[in-house]
Symmetry: C2
Subunit: 398 residues, 2 copies
């Protein structure tokens, strides 16, 4: 499972001592080829962590031999020293992997093909005296079964590690696989949720096609998660292809597998969001455009009063309408309909079915907003707002 | 004080039985002239309550003889019946005031010159069988000292009633006054905070000038309050002028008095926001434009993670930077500086002074964000995010 479900990959997850509590905090994912194609999508936050700035450059080459990921520190807002630390991390990984690999890939590992991702508190330098030896330790533990350990090592406030897998087979019966791991529990919002994701595949696919499939998948999965409206400085989603299956699936089939894994991981992120007691599926229907549907969905997802009401199992549709009203989407207020858990509590902008019919006891809550303005739609996933979220995030860095 | 501080106004606040707990819930403010000029500013939410739709039309005439305000129900998302109820409220007030006034104003009171404002839960029809008799009761209690009672009757979850006063005098020593009252504790955000405000003045000023002064004042006061990012369907700010002082102050002097009263009331709104434990003054300096400064200030104001950190008295400047990074304002991430309570914890996008120097024990917290991109600035007022906010808003309508 995880990043080693696909052939051609090894991984490890170890405790390097970056986290003071001694939990696993360093993961290494290695693509053993024969192909080393890669694509990446990064945070759209303009304040980008050093590893994001680094990995964006790496991915421009379309080739990644390994990914070093650490929890216990975001290495964001750390200035030139932070960037030097990321660079040193990639150099160290290249050096260690060269010692291990006996000459593969040809010409040796280059730091310029090693992606780095970090997560944790913003504004602190990483303890490089522990991180660099940790890379040696992780390399020594690389395994074709290391995917779970890698997924565990990238957790921060996540309560569970998150993995997913999908795939298919060629016409002559040879299987191919897409696997992945994700972390993310807070600062979870659009422009990619606050998270690190590594996807791997043994399908034999070139970098430009990986890029197209990855962007298409993240656009309707991770980009439509909005747990708490806060966009991270460190979001990174990487897709690495080894070609080890020898199969080149058709684009549509491959893209659907990537989308399936992304959607699965995105759903797991929402399900494990900090302090949340509800997972809220917001579907905006009959919008004039998909952009309108997404704008309205996000506005609903980010309305703190509504998020509190959902926590209180209160089908407060007035707060849905007041959220819709702040958008620039096409709609007539008198033609808005809203359902909560399939009960149309608001019809034509006014009172609809009896709100007492709405049963909100279960963790998943479905809100449907009908704009009566067209035929487009979108789904945004969000969470409720709880006292536990406040508690968890009041004391994070202190 | 309040709306009866200025000469020419009477007011009343009574319990009409709209609120089930028997608290005061109906206010009446009457302009006894000689002038009855008025201006109004309303929510920019596209889902507007019936009284907002009504009063927007009334204010187009530039003349208001009275304002009826109720708490205990927003009369928003109530369809055609809700609008009929607002109309009936204005008709009833005109009829009752005609009985009282003995022929003033000339031609009698017209419903078309009576503004209506409502606040409370969205999506419920008002109990007109109690509201209409309440107007008679309020009219019978009208007094030149009724301003405090009116301010009390418009409270919803407000813990205190809010009034303010300012003024000046003519060259020959005749005084003029601007007074006002406000309510608002939740759903408190831009495009006007969730609130009802009535300002009165005895200055002798025509409606177009009132409008100019009111818009200028709200733009930098109420419009820069962002307690919880949620924009109301009912926001209304009215300014009524009686001319009873016989003084026409210079525009600048008058506009400054209106701005002073608005700023005072806006500060009181933040100080009494639902569940808040901190009032946060966010000043964005050295922005390329005022719009940039406001956009950055709002983004900081709405960042739930930062709001939690402030509640926890944690000077988490990384969350300030991640909020700035989501905006389209002009800035270079490496030139951002952030101070919390005057300690520059972030310099040049990285670690600055020791965060342990920041003392956050007091209710007011000051965040200064220096964009190093120009010379414009803006101040936004916000609150922290607390478990009490969640509790209060989880159970509001149930």
């Amino acid at each position: 499972m995880s990043v080693t479900a696909a052939k051609g990959f090894t991984a490890a997850g170890i405790a390097a001592g970056i986290k003071e509590n001694g939990n696993p905090d360093l993961a290494l994912v290695v693509n053993n080829g024969p192909r080393r194609a890669a694509a990446g999508v990064f945070t759209s936050n303009r304040v980008k962590a050093a590893p994001v700035l680094w990995s964006e450059q790496v991915l421009k080459g379309g080739s990644v031999t390994a990914v070093v990921l650490n929890s216990g520190g975001a290495n964001a807002c750390t200035g030139p020293k932070g960037f030097q630390d990321t660079h040193a991390t990639a150099e160290k990984a290249a050096e260690v992997l060269d010692e291990l690999s006996g000459g593969a890939p040809a010409g040796g590992h280059s730091a310029g093909e090693i992606a780095v991702a970090s997560t944790g508190l913003i504004g602190l330098l990483l303890p490089m005296d522990r991180l660099l030896p940790g890379i040696e330790k992780a390399a020594a533990g690389l395994s074709e079964h290391g995917g779970e350990k890698a997924a565990i090592a990238i957790k921060t406030t996540d309560t569970i590690h998150k993995t997913a897998v999908a795939g298919g087979e060629s016409a002559d019966g040879r299987p191919w696989t897409v696997g992945g791991m994700a972390k993310g529990a807070g600062m979870l919002a659009p422009g990619l949720a606050t998270m690190l994701v590594v996807l791997t595949t043994d399908a034999d696919i070139e970098a430009p096609t990986l890029d197209t499939a990855l962007r298409a998948a993240t656009r309707t999965t991770f980009d439509r998660v909005d747990s708490d409206g806060c966009m991270s400085t460190n979001d990174t989603v990487l897709l690495l292809a080894s070609g080890a299956s020898g199969v080149t699936p058709g684009y549509e089939e491959f893209a659907e597998a990537v989308r399936t894994v992304c959607a699965d991981l995105a759903r797991q992120l929402i399900g494990d969001a900090e302090g949340a007691s509800k997972d809220v599926r917001i579907e905006v229907i009959n919008a004039a455009t998909e952009d309108d549907a997404v704008e309205v969905g996000r506005s609903i997802a980010r309305n703190n009063l509504l998020k509190c009401a959902i926590h209180g199992e209160d089908p407060n549709w007035g707060r849905v309408l007041s959220a819709i009203g702040t958008t620039s989407a096409a709609f007539d207020p008198d033609r808005l309909n809203v359902a909560i858990n399939d009960v149309w509590v608001c019809r034509n902008g006014s009172v609809g079915e009896d709100r007492d019919l709405v049963d909100m006891r279960y963790r998943e809550v479905r809100i449907t907003a009908d704009l009566s303005a067209g035929t487009d739609s979108a789904v945004i996933w969000a969470n409720d707002l709880t006292a536990e979220y406040v508690h968890e995030n009041s004391a994070y860095s202190s």
